[in-house]
Symmetry: C2
DNA sequence: TTGACTATCTATAAAAT
DNA sequence: TATTTTATAGATAGTCA
């Protein structure tokens, strides 16, 4: 009897022409990618976040570890400054997540707009909801930002206070290397910053979330 | 003659005990992961962003496509509202990247603090630079947020104007489904949002950036 | 879609260099 | 410690159910 199949064939590394093959390949390779990531997390203790926009514009995400694990893994008897820092990070994370979701919505809406334009060539291009949606979204964003700003100002004050406290209680300050530093210039030139993400359980804006079998990783990272 | 090597052996899917093996495995598998991602991008036209924190706390990132490509790939003769949206997204992205980098620095500092605490048990736990660094960082963040808020306000005004323009030029508004909607409640309950990121060329906060051979992808995504 | 199945390609653990 | 080699483990293209 002859061979049942030719088996796997080599595939040229260019965008696939056949669109249905492309879909199948994506559906097979995307979980492969997430599996590789999960293995890297498990074997090496790495922390990984991945976002994938599929050719059909669906969103898939992978993250390890879950945000909750990170927040709670700090030991109970921590130093006051560290808890301030944790609060700060937690706060930023929450606010950031909100910003990110705004962005995501904007992006998806843009894609929708593209689709509608392509789908209705010759028809009325203005028949899109974008100008309707922009106002409430921008207003929402504005209020989120205002709250974020207030929070940061509060933290600034708190940290100032604890800083002064340390100035009084220890003279060790200043002898350690300042190995993390900012300046305003840096910010305006652009840089390479990794994304952060947070996905509380029980709610999904839309995307499929990879929730693998091993307990080691969840669907949020930061 | 006997075999020169046993070849690849199966490895159990748990965190590796031997720390130097772990390092080696990470160094081998991380580029493998990025390669898989790049293949998925190339073959299927997917858009992917990855961030990896190594066991040694280095940061690696992968992104496709480059932010610039996304911004410029919109057709030249686009409708005014869409260009507003693009400006909006671009703006949010830039600001978000700044927030994310702040978060990243906070996170790394937290880990450092943990390391130092573990490393110097019984020594002076207050000998950490955290209370030194917090002030400039918080101040920096505050100014970034203020700028972000100003930008959003500006966009809010611009969008309001274009909205009014459309109100005058078309009566099609309102007949289309409002398929993306926010409300403040949603924001406070948490949701699943994929991260966004932006990494302009020529600058790196710290992390290694994957800059693969094929021209198809760069080191930024969004 | 959503998986099996097979044959083959690719990634990589260990050893050698 | 980094690179190359060896040989197996794992991923997946093509196919069909």
């Amino acid at each position: 009897m002859g061979k049942k199949s030719l088996g796997r064939q080599k595939v040229e590394m260019v965008k696939m022409k056949n669109n249905s093959n492309l879909q199948v390949t994506f559906s097979k390779r995307r979980p492969g990618l997430f599996k590789k990531a999960s293995e890297l997390c498990t074997l090496c203790g790495a922390e990984i976040g991945i976002v994938v926009f599929s050719p059909g514009n669906k969103v898939f995400s992978f993250g390890h570890p879950e945000i909750g694990n990170i927040i709670h893994r700090s030991a109970p008897a921590l130093h006051i400054v560290e808890s301030h820092r944790n609060a700060h990070v937690r706060n930023l994370n929450m606010q950031l997540t909100e910003l990110v979701s705004q962005l995501e919505v904007e992006k998806r809406r843009g894609e929708e707009l593209n689709h509608m334009r392509r789908a209705s060539q010759g028809q009325h291009w203005w028949e899109v909801p974008i100008h309707e949606l922009s106002l409430p979204q921008l207003r929402q964003l504005k209020s989120v930002l205002e709250e974020l700003k207030r929070n940061v100002e509060k933290l600034l004050i708190q940290t100032t206070n604890s800083h002064q406290f340390f100035m009084r209680s220890s003279n060790a300050i200043g002898v350690f290397p300042n190995n993390i530093e900012f300046d305003a210039n840096m910010m305006s030139q652009g840089y390479n910053a990794p994304p952060s993400n947070m996905m509380p359980p029980g709610f999904s804006l839309n995307p499929e979330v990879y929730n693998p079998c091993p307990p080691e990783f969840g669907h949020a990272f930061f």
